[in-house]
Symmetry: C2
Amino acid sequence: MNCQECLHKVCAISRLRPDELERIGKNCSRVRYKAKEKVFKQGTPASHLIYIKSGLLKSHFIESNDKEIIIDLFYDNMFLGMHSIYTGGVHQYSATVIQDAELCFIESSAFRDVVINNGGFAAEMMAATCSDSMHVFHRLRSMIRKQLPGRFAEAILIFSDEIFMSDQFTLPLSRNELAEFLGSTRESVTRTMTEFRNDKIIELNGKDVRILTKELLKTISELG
Amino acid sequence: MNCQECLHKVCAISRLRPDELERIGKNCSRVRYKAKEKVFKQGTPASHLIYIKSGLLKSHFIESNDKEIIIDLFYDNMFLGMHSIYTGGVHQYSATVIQDAELCFIESSAFRDVVINNGGFAAEMMAATCSDSMHVFHRLRSMIRKQLPGRFAEAILIFSDEIFMSDQFTLPLSRNELAEFLGSTRESVTRTMTEFRNDKIIELNGKDVRILTKELLKTISELG
DNA sequence: TCGAGAATGTGATACAGGTCACAGTTTTTT
DNA sequence: AAAAAACTGTGACCTGTATCACATTCTCGA
């Protein structure tokens, strides 16, 4: 497996020495996934860390009833499953593909070996993990303080600024998944969306979104 | 500063070599704090990592209005501020003492040096950080799915099982702080509490709590 | 190509809990 | 010891959004 090509993209990987890169590469397999495929399931043994070469995934909790809760979204050049690797070796959440993805499965023992032997790499991974966690902490804040329009505006901004880097994009989530991401229900999300369209804040056509007044979106997101 | 005595309490610290322990110890100062004192404030430079020798603290976001949001609670033998150390060197949240505490301030550059040079220590710190983050992820889940009685029951169980290790304890939070922890308001928390008392689930006298039917609490917490 | 199941929009209704107002109590300050 | 400030309980009211029910419209496999 050729990990070289990921070198320039992920800061942490550039910290690896050639032999470590090989150690990881040898215990790493790249796999293509299609949308809706489950990558790993909460409760199963966490044998691998996932590196996302391309695509979009969600981490989510499985609930007793049918509803799920999306913890966060993961995309190009991110690692997924760190919390599971370091918490008893059992997956703490599920991961499912949202948009076709290319994933590298890194054997967790190989990964841990490298962390132990290379503190610089460990530090970079720590930084990445802390950053990911902070993102969820802010989502906690949003859930508590903001009401639906604020949370929806925030989500649109995340798609626009963090994921697609464009004011115009196709929503990768169904209305139902959007509800799971926003901690709401399908119906309420629908209503909020038509509301936003009527108010000329976004142009909305099925899953196609175009942001009309980004400033207003920011205001709504901040005021909740 | 004598870090030896913390050695047997915190797994990560036992990974340190004598010289590293000294490096940390030299750049570490222990300070007593009284309840309500602020340890660090969101937005300020993150120069130190906090080790909690004893006491109870909260990490919290500061909101534009007066209300706060308690992200999580920290107590004996936990580290606080890891996310800030590894995310741009600025504190990502505030930390305030709830019950008188003894804190060790570990110089962040010394800490980072040790992490880089000692992968075993890095791995342990990663484990601790991931575990703390997972706790917040579960709180996110609770905020979204459960309603107030469920969240309150959960909080009582956290106090009982994770913090005080007893069915009988004195609430360390005011009604208002409890509301900030539960993502609610003072009034609603009060009402929920009297409800629980009337239903003979807990005995309640000011801040003194005694759990009467733990099983019921668990059920309420799980069903939301 | 057709049918079945999933995804979406929309109305009517219910209710958990936020907000406001006020009173009593406890704690802190001077 | 008096005054101020913070904390707590309780009632009345209002609102955001969950829930239920149904009609349409897509999607994709047989």
